[in-house]
């Protein structure tokens, strides 16, 4: 942009008009900016959650839509509100749901820990690499992040299936093929594989800011590298650890694609249960109840994330 100074009379007309229109609005220009996204989020984020809650108190019926109305209008202008708690009762009484919740949390937690154990040294290595290498390595982490999630899961199936790459490789040494697909193991691998960049990037952003002189000071005061790591690096990287684990843990709980493509029929995860309730059983109210219960499970970690988020906005 190397324009030479020009008189403002040559400003495009629409710009001028918009400017006049906005300045005539005065303070309300500000309200306009807030208004559009606020209305959008209210209608398409907040209200839907309320609708889900409402429908979770309804029951399945045949027809369109496939659920009963909460409000029914009687003969003499009476309005009747019918709330069904049966869906929520079912969530607790049917071991399918309880097991699915417990299993989801377990799988998500274990996969998150594995991702942390694998991602931390990688993030640390990238953060300590020379400037030139750092950019290349960072690109290598970000690249999968921009590649299709679904296709990466698909790539794993080609890798782990009975006659897949791993088993072909093992076959060269005469090792019997391993059964990896359709197991919980495959789900762990899938979650770690697809969410690893989400773990590495926040850890990296944290670790790269770590003041190198702190490590030198620690070494100077007589701490061995391991001691320095435990006493200095690890405590200072806690915010990165929290961000990374939350970014892996929360979406992993509700994961549908991974258990559905990599897991076996016994791999119960709540996202998959919800999907099946909705698509296979067409039980919308039950699916809604499952969603509300899932929301309760993830709401605490989400709040944690938001606190971190708003802290950066306030900065």
């Amino acid at each position: 942009m190397s324009r030479t100074p020009e008189p403002s009379t040559s400003v495009p007309r629409p710009l001028k008009l918009a400017e006049q229109a906005l300045s005539r609005l005065g303070v309300s220009g500000r309200a306009l900016i807030i208004f559009a996204p606020a209305v959008w989020l209210t209608i398409f984020f907040l209200v839907p959650l309320a609708v889900v809650f409402g429908i979770s108190l309804s029951t399945k019926q045949f027809g369109r839509p496939p659920y009963s109305n909460l409000l029914t209008f009687g003969e003499a202008g009476t309005v009747q509100l019918t709330l069904h708690l049966s869906n929520f009762v079912k969530l607790f009484s049917d071991s399918l749901y309880v097991n699915a919740y417990i299993n989801s949390i377990k799988i998500a937690a274990i996969a998150t820990l594995i991702a942390l154990a694998l991602g931390y040294p990688m993030a640390y290595f990238i953060a300590r690499a020379s400037d030139r290498w750092r950019n290349v390595l960072l690109m290598l982490v970000i690249l999968p992040f921009w590649t299709s999630f679904l296709l990466r899961v698909y790539a794993l199936t080609g890798f782990m299936r009975g006659n897949g790459v791993i088993n072909n490789f093992l076959g060269l040494f005469g090792i019997e093929p391993l059964i990896m697909m359709q197991t919980d193991f495959a789900v762990y691998v899938g979650i770690v594989y697809t969410y690893l960049p989400f773990m590495i990037l926040p850890l990296y952003t944290n670790l790269v800011k770590l003041d190198g002189t702190l490590l030198e000071a620690s070494a100077d005061l007589g701490a061995r590298p391991l001691r320095t790591f435990l006493a200095i690096t690890l405590p200072l990287s806690v915010p990165g650890i929290i961000a990374g684990t939350m970014l892996v843990f929360i979406p992993a709980i509700g994961e549908f694609v991974i258990p559905s493509l990599l897991g076996g029929p016994g791999t119960l995860m709540i996202g998959r249960v919800l999907w099946d309730e909705f698509f296979s059983n067409t039980n919308w109210p039950r699916a809604a109840a499952v969603a509300i219960a899932m929301l309760i499970v993830v709401v605490v970690p989400i709040m944690l994330m938001q606190r971190a988020q708003s802290a950066t906005v306030e900065r």
Binding site: F125, R128, M139, G158, A291
Partner: protein, 275 residues
């Protein structure tokens, strides 16, 4: 600091883990054999088959349209939101809005998809809009979660931006609107580009939400791929995946090169800003 062998080993293993499946997938997309993992000779026939498949091409076209529309809409809304939350320190509902905008970032897809579908169904029976589900409802759904990503990227750029630049322009006689057009917009442009690209990519990639809110005849590319994978081996999906990976690698590679040449890298910057 002295470096032990542990970190490099862990990093090499980690990167191998990240890349081995992708690389093998690309290699086997050139495999002649229908059995995706048994090599029998070099061939590009799956690419030919892919390009002759009207279902895949149609879905790809639809997905690109939806991604373009959602990313553009999300760019406007997310940017407005970022300006509101960063520049206006105090207004009613600010905390609430700040909470709402970041929630979609971590909300499980199944919940987002289900809740929007239930909303659309309820709205249709109440006010008759939207009539049925299809491209429009997918765009609305994608815009809603993409704007959260745009917001994060633009917001972090706005926070980093020296506020005195805007004050200086105002001091030199520019009205708030002119300040935005002349100063703010050019300076946050890299964030706008990366926010849009991020939205575009995420929309293109979404399977779960689209599955809930799509209607008959509006199957997106991920939906078609998913059903193909569910049915079993499909070498043309390998070909498709290779093309997508190639395009993304090229884009990210160019962006990184630009960054190495001292320019601001929209792709890499955005990803690390989201975190």
């Amino acid at each position: 600091m002295r470096k032990g062998p542990f970190l490099p080993t862990a990093a090499i293993l980690g990167f191998a883990f990240l890349y081995a499946p992708i690389i093998s997938l690309v290699i086997f997309s050139f495999n002649e054999n229908r059995l995706v993992t048994v090599w029998s000779g070099f061939s590009v026939k799956w690419y030919g088959e892919l390009l002759a498949d009207p279902q895949i091409l149609g879905a790809a076209g639809l997905s690109l349209q939806i991604a373009f529309a959602s990313a553009s809409l999300a760019l406007v809304l997310g940017t407005l939101m970022a300006i509101a939350l960063v520049r206006f320190r105090r207004f009613r509902g600010r905390t609430m809005l700040a909470g709402m905008i970041s929630a979609p970032l971590v909300m499980p897809d199944v919940i987002t998809g289900l809740s929007l579908l239930l909303l659309f169904v309820a709205m249709e029976s109440l006010i008759g809009w939207p009539a049925g589900r299809g491209t429009m409802t997918i765009i609305i759904a994608h815009t809603t979660f993409c704007m959260a990503y745009v917001f994060v990227v633009v917001q972090s750029r706005l926070v980093d931006m020296d506020i005195s630049l805007e004050e200086a322009a105002m001091d030199l006689g520019a009205t708030p609107f002119r300040v935005f057009v002349d100063i703010t917009l050019p300076i946050i442009a890299p964030a706008l580009i990366s926010g849009w690209l991020l939205g575009f990519t995420l929309s293109l990639d979404d399977l779960v939400i689209s599955s809930f809110v799509s209607g008959p005849g509006s199957s997106t590319l991920p939906m078609v791929i998913f059903s193909k994978i569910k049915l079993g081996v499909s070498p043309d999906v390998n070909a498709l995946a290779s093309i997508i990976i190639g395009v993304v690698a090229l884009g990210v590679g160019i962006a990184t090169l630009l960054q190495l040449r001292g320019q601001k890298n929209p792709v890499g910057a955005s990803a690390s800003e989201i975190m």
